[in-house]
């Protein structure tokens, strides 16, 4: 800092950091892909108080929300391979657990994490849909599944959208912890670049800019989509 910022480095590293965006997005998308349906189903188990599952979901949510994500990363990253390899040895599966790309662990951790968040999002969104909607659907001869698919979910989704957006933004930000698993994402790339000339301050500014751009773009996309989904609502804010 004493010599001011190294602007050339700032610009170069910006693009290096930018090149980490695909992997951050990839993890985000995969995590959402699994977490959305999973979170929805588990939310249903909580709403309908399905005996064992509902308890399970509750404990699960409380653990995941209660502990720092970096700890979850660590626990998964260090214990899952151990468990798997002892399982593999036991059943004589001739596969090397350690050839697995760390991105798989990222999928696991972030899917787990996002699922927990989404359970709560869907739970509150579903509870805003009037019970009468389900009854009306049943009374015109729709099955439960049809009623959910065509009537309940589209309405719950609109309510859930802002929170799903928040969850997505948080997820994108959380992928920056992927450095702990040697994932070539935004933060790690920028930091490795910084290491060459020790331009950490510049690197952090770049990281800041990249996340800011990425997350506001995602936020914007969500707002657009939300507008479309809620076309039936009287006024869209």
């Amino acid at each position: 800092m004493s010599e001011g910022l190294n602007y050339k480095f700032l610009v170069d590293t910006f693009f290096i950091a930018l090149s980490g965006v695909p992997i951050a997005l990839f993890i985000t998308i995969v995590a959402l892909l699994f977490a959305l349906p999973l979170g929805f189903l588990l939310a249903l188990t909580r709403i309908n108080r399905i005996p064992v599952l509902h308890r399970f979901a509750q404990v699960y949510v409380s653990f995941v929300r209660g502990t720092p994500i970096i700890i979850q990363i660590f626990i998964v990253y260090s214990s899952v391979p151990l468990l798997l390899s002892s399982l593999f040895t036991k059943f004589n599966i001739g596969m090397n657990v350690y050839d697995v790309n760390p991105i798989w662990y990222a999928f696991i951790v972030f899917t787990f994490n996002t699922t927990a968040v989404l359970i709560e999002v869907f739970r509150s969104a579903l509870s805003t849909v009037n019970k009468g909607q389900l009854e009306a659907a049943q009374s015109v001869g729709l099955t439960n599944v049809q009623a959910y698919r065509r009537i309940i979910i589209p309405q719950a989704l609109v309510v859930a959208m802002p929170n799903i957006c928040t969850a997505t933004v948080n997820l994108i930000k959380a992928t920056s912890l992927g450095y702990a698993m040697s994932l070539q994402e935004i933060t790690l790339k920028a930091k490795v670049a910084a290491n060459v000339g020790y331009n950490y301050v510049e690197a952090y500014i770049d990281i800041f800019l990249v996340y800011l751009l990425l997350c506001s773009a995602v936020e914007f996309a969500f707002k657009l989509y939300e507008k479309r989904l809620s076309k039936y609502k009287p006024s869209v804010v």
Binding site: M1, R46, I47, S62, F63, R65, G66, T67, P68, I69, I70, I71, Q72, F74, I75, S78, S79, L82, L83, S86, R123, S124, L126, S127, V129, K131, T166, V169, K173, A174, S176, T187, Y200, V201, Y204, I205, I207, F208, Y211, L212, L214, C215, S216, E219
Partner: protein, 235 residues
């Protein structure tokens, strides 16, 4: 597996970790305190009449929402002294905790402003109207009728944000502030990086218990303050 995993490390490290919750609480507590205050100002800007203030407050929220905490922490920790340098202030001797608290205050305020705004807006305008119609002044109407109800609505989200600060506070370790996560790192370092899993499990247990306690506390709080509010059942 048995070669590496030794549960005794979990139980032995817990008593070592617990004293460091004090730092965790201090950082979280002060950040929440100041953050709530700043959040209040932001909320006022968001629901107020000035278009400019609203734009600023919304922009602030977006930017903070989009910045990973660790990045924000570094920007504050190195950025503030650098700015101070320009204006001839030496901020290098300020305690690290101050920077951490500033960081999480900024972040908590952004979250809080959204929580408070939505809580405030969820209160039917009729409540305010009824209050002024029985002769209360505007500020009396807010203080006695609107805010108490908004408070109850805001409580659960406030609890969530509080849990988040407690967890994010762990990042303070990266700039050398030793809270409960920092202590865990030191214990691991003391073991030459061995048995890290057990120490982190101990940490997870502590956090888990803590968050359950806080959750319960907030549920109680909600019950106490929601007198007169219809018990909403989830579908």
């Amino acid at each position: 597996m048995e070669k590496y995993f030794d549960a005794s490390y979990i139980w032995e490290s817990i008593p070592l970790l617990i004293p460091f919750l004090k730092m965790t609480f201090m950082v979280a507590g002060l950040s929440v305190l100041f953050g709530t205050f700043l959040g209040f100002i932001l909320t006022a800007a968001k629901i107020g009449k000035s278009k400019f203030a609203r734009k600023v407050a919304n922009g602030y929220t977006t930017i903070l929402r989009c910045t990973p905490s660790i990045v924000l922490l570094f920007l504050v920790y190195y950025g503030l002294p650098a700015i101070g340098d320009r204006v001839g202030l030496n901020l290098n001797n300020i305690h690290t905790a101050v920077f951490v608290i500033i960081t999480f205050t900024l972040q908590f305020a952004a979250a809080m402003s959204e929580v408070m705004r939505s809580a405030f807006q969820s209160i039917d305008k009729g409540q305010f109207e009824a209050a002024v119609s029985v002769g209360l002044s505007n500020s009396q109407a807010y203080r006695r009728i609107v805010f108490p109800q908004a408070f109850v609505v805001a409580l659960p989200n406030f609890g969530n944000s509080l849990l988040a600060v407690l967890q994010e506070g762990s990042l303070a370790y990266t700039i050398g502030l030793i809270d409960v996560v920092g202590k865990a790192n030191l214990i691991i370092a003391g073991n030459y990086n061995a048995h890290a899993l057990e120490i982190f499990l101990a940490l997870a247990i502590i956090y888990w218990i803590l968050s359950i306690a806080i959750e319960q506390f907030f549920l109680k709080l909600e019950k106490v303050f929601s007198k007169g509010k219809q018990g909403l059942k989830t579908a």
